[in-house]
Amino acid sequence: MSVSEKAKPLSELSDEELIAEFQQDNEAAFTELVGRYKDPLTNFTYRFLGDWDECCDAVQDTFVRVYRSRHSYKPIAKFSTWLYTIATNLSKSYLRKRKFRSALGLGTRYEDNAERTIDPIDPEPRPDQLADSAIMDERIQQAINTLGMKYREVIILRDIQDLSYEEIATVTGLNIGTVKSRINRARTQLQEKLKDLLTD
């Protein structure tokens, strides 16, 4: 890294430059990365898990893992894809734990995602309720929760997080064709579940 780059404030450095700084034990770079990604990751994990507490834990775990495994990052990949890969894997672990608890009857508060289809509680809310964006968000979230894990991750990464197909393929470890196919299927399923919202 050149002297001029070193003089640049951290906020002007790219993600990859920041993680490189952090690999040289500059903790301020890590703080900057946390500031950049805490909200997008929280959004992603909340949409993926559908549970606020688990979402917070998953994002925390993600950053803790970044902190501890910073030296395992190789600059051949974008930092954001590396970060989303960690977050996706941890979120999947949370879902599996939830599924396991549900199977044991230890926690039945969650609607298990798996491959089951659970319709929203109130399929036809009143028009004034639809106007309320919070309720609409809730409807959409419920619909996402009914998707299978493999569809959920790709559609959230694509349509909510705005990752490219290539990035999604890197994060999920799938090839691009499979990614596009899954996105297509996920949209079809959501279209069916949210058709009352789409007719407006």
């Binding site: 703080t31 946390v34 500031g35 805490k38 909200d39 990751l41 929280t42 959004n43 909340y46 949409r47 979402c55 917070c56 994002v59 925390q60 950053f63 803790v64 902190y67 501890r68 964006s133 919070a134 968000d137 959409i140 979230q141 559609i155 349509d159 909510i160 705005d162 064709g177 596009k180 196919s181 996105i183 297509n184 299927r185 949209r187 079809t188 959501l190 279209q191 949210l194 919202l197 789409l198």
Partner: protein, 209 residues
Amino acid sequence: MTPTLEPENENKNQVRNLLRRLKPVRAPWYFEARLRQRIGEKRAGGVARLFSKPVPAYAISISAVVVLGTLAYYTLPMLEDRETGQTTPGDVIQKKTDELQRPRISPSSVPSNIPEEKKKQDRQPQQEGAGRGPSGEQPEAIRESGLKERANQVITPGQTAPLAVPLRKESDLRLGGTIDTVLLDRVDADSLDTLKSKRDSLTIPKPRE
């Protein structure tokens, strides 16, 4: 029919727009503080750091040897002593302590038929100062008078009880203000400190007047 890879029909675009309109969820305000705390726990020093990693076998071995050695040092002599009857330093101290505590006389055990004048006479030298016996004698005189006289002496409240043991050296008497009448037997350097610490218990409390 194979699905199109990039669906562009109107409804699917609407789904995409719907998802993009979702209100973004933000991290809680305490997120960074909690993260710092969690990372701090991982980096904790001292004992926490020690136990956050596997403890080396040699450290466990050394600790075990130290603990067991310390326990053995203090417990085995006691066990030997009970079996063989040998005297350990701890027993010597205990014995001396018991001897010192033996002549303690409580105010209620003082004979009531002692004349009041006699009591005052006995009490007077004690109040005058340290370094003198109950009758105002010098330490040398106490030694000369011997054990029998001291054994026959009547102890009144406020006085210091003498011990029924002979003196070995004069310095034994000069332990302090209230121990001047204590006659010590074979007081060695180790037990002397213990006796000093016990001297206050030798003074009989004065009765309330």
